[in-house]
């Protein structure tokens, strides 16, 4: 994007600035559109329903843990759900079970001890060359890497002032994963150096006033999709790999910065 003319000056802008203005027109629909189509014929059967329940449960738990720790510092986020597509749920609230979560999964928080490897070590362990952006955001630094053998993923943790940022990458042939979002979540189509990507803001949070309920084998949580949660996720696929950038925290980088990072990764 080029905006070489001074927008504060009167008169005709340059062609490049007009192009910039045109690109900046990215309106979003209101919730009314989603209400209009909530009962459309193709909505009667959610794709999420077709996914194995244990897979959906585990992935949801990852999102919930990530969101649950957002208000504490350092942010103890869980970046467990590295998936290829966002899958909207049929509603904005649900009940999930923590019973299937293993201790290692519960320990995947955004602290240095959980990201013990260098990028080179992670590449060797994962069996593919882990990519790094050739430029980072101001004040952003790499903490370390983690290898998730069961999903063939490598997750890099970066940190900056007021946010953590997780970059995950995994071979597409390692199988599909799912990323559940609320029915009101807006999936935005974005372009990253000519590659299509998807961007979503928000996350699942524990519903206030509904404490976890204990049963014999599981712990259930009522969760609610919060579109204003300071959590931003960008996903795309390139050269046989699935990538995800997720920022969390009050100062978390948003769409423009995430796309810039993704482009720095693709270059």
């Amino acid at each position: 994007m080029n905006s070489d003319s001074d927008p504060t000056q009167p008169g005709s802008p340059s062609i490049e600035h007009i192009e910039h203005l045109l690109r900046s027109i990215q309106p979003l629909p209101s919730p009314r559109l989603y209400r209009l189509l909530a009962s459309a014929p193709w909505q009667k059967r959610s794709v999420l329903v077709r996914a194995p329940k244990w897979a959906v449960g585990i992935l949801l738990i990852g999102c919930i843990l990530l969101a649950s720790f957002l208000i504490s510092a350092p942010l103890r986020a869980v970046a467990r759900t590295w998936v290829q597509y966002f899958l909207p749920d049929r509603q904005d609230s649900m009940q999930v079970s923590l019973g299937d979560l293993s201790p290692p999964e519960l320990s995947q928080v955004a602290s240095a001890e959980n990201f013990p490897f260098s990028v080179e070590q992670a590449s060797r362990r994962a069996g593919f060359s882990v990519r790094l952006p050739d430029a980072l955001l101001p004040g952003m630094s790499l903490v370390g890497a983690r290898v998730e053998d069961h999903t063939a993923s490598v997750v890099l943790l970066f940190t900056g002032a007021g946010y953590n940022l997780f970059l995950s990458q995994r071979p597409l042939d390692a199988g599909a994963e799912y990323f559940s979002i609320g029915s009101s979540a807006v999936v935005e189509e974005v372009w990253i150096a000519g590659i299509r990507g998807e961007y979503v803001s928000g996350g699942w949070v524990k519903q206030s006033g509904s404490p976890p309920t204990q049963s014999a084998n599981s712990q259930d949580l009522h969760v609610q999709w919060d579109g204003l949660l300071p959590q931003h996720t960008l996903r795309w696929q390139s050269a046989g790999y699935a990538f995800q950038l997720r920022s969390t925290g009050s100062e978390s980088p948003q769409k423009t910065d995430l796309i810039a990072l993704a482009e720095a990764l693709i270059r």
Binding site: P10, P13, I25, L28, L37, A40, Q43, R45, P88, V186
Partner: protein, 183 residues
């Protein structure tokens, strides 16, 4: 991106395509009409409902689905414009009212910068509405949807060079008619 390997009759496949493309269709219609918001949303919903009814006639790959959807959307926009011709002022007022609430706010921008930007976009929307519909569509595809020239050429069945020339001329026309200091 995965290829479509099942007919569109499958609601799950159609739902996936809806999720994937509804924003592009919404923005395409917004770019062509300039609002009002409720009409853009109605037309977006109508596009998918009409596509659902006609899904049995479609065979192709993902990019072709979007092209097909945009063709449906374009026809609906043309029909709506014909119906609305007797109330052009009503449309313009709605357009200006809607725009502020449609734009995502960039937190990093100052309030002054945002105001200037919104004013410039508002002026641009006016200039867009002066262009012939075909030229407006080219600009929307190229800039709002981010299509490449060769993709637009394939979609519209026109030579790439012609697309490039039309884009350039349209931009120059917008620039030539840009409002002055008091515009």
């Amino acid at each position: 991106m995965a290829q479509i390997n099942r007919p569109l009759q499958d609601p799950a496949i159609f739902a996936q395509l809806y999720e994937q493309y509804h924003l592009a269709v919404f923005r395409f219609i917004y770019g062509l009409t300039g609002g009002p918001l409720h009409e853009v949303e109605d037309l977006t919903a109508d596009t998918f409902l009409r596509a659902w009814k006609a899904r049995g006639h479609f065979a192709g790959e993902p990019r072709a689905v979007l092209s097909w959807l945009l063709t449906i959307a374009r026809h609906l926009v043309i029909d709506a414009a014909r119906r609305r011709k007797s109330h052009p002022d009503e449309q313009l007022c709605a357009e200006l009212d809607d725009y502020q609430q449609l734009l995502p706010v960039e937190a990093a921008d100052s309030a002054e910068k945002q105001v200037i930007h919104h004013e410039q976009v508002r002026a641009l929307l006016h200039r867009l509405s002066d262009l012939p519909a075909e030229r407006r569509e080219l600009l929307v595809l190229r800039y709002m949807l981010g299509w490449r020239v060769n993709e637009i050429a394939a979609h519209l069945g026109m030579p790439e060079n012609t697309i490039s020339v039309y884009l350039r001329r349209s931009l120059e026309q917008i620039r030539a008619h840009w409002p002055g200091e008091h515009g």
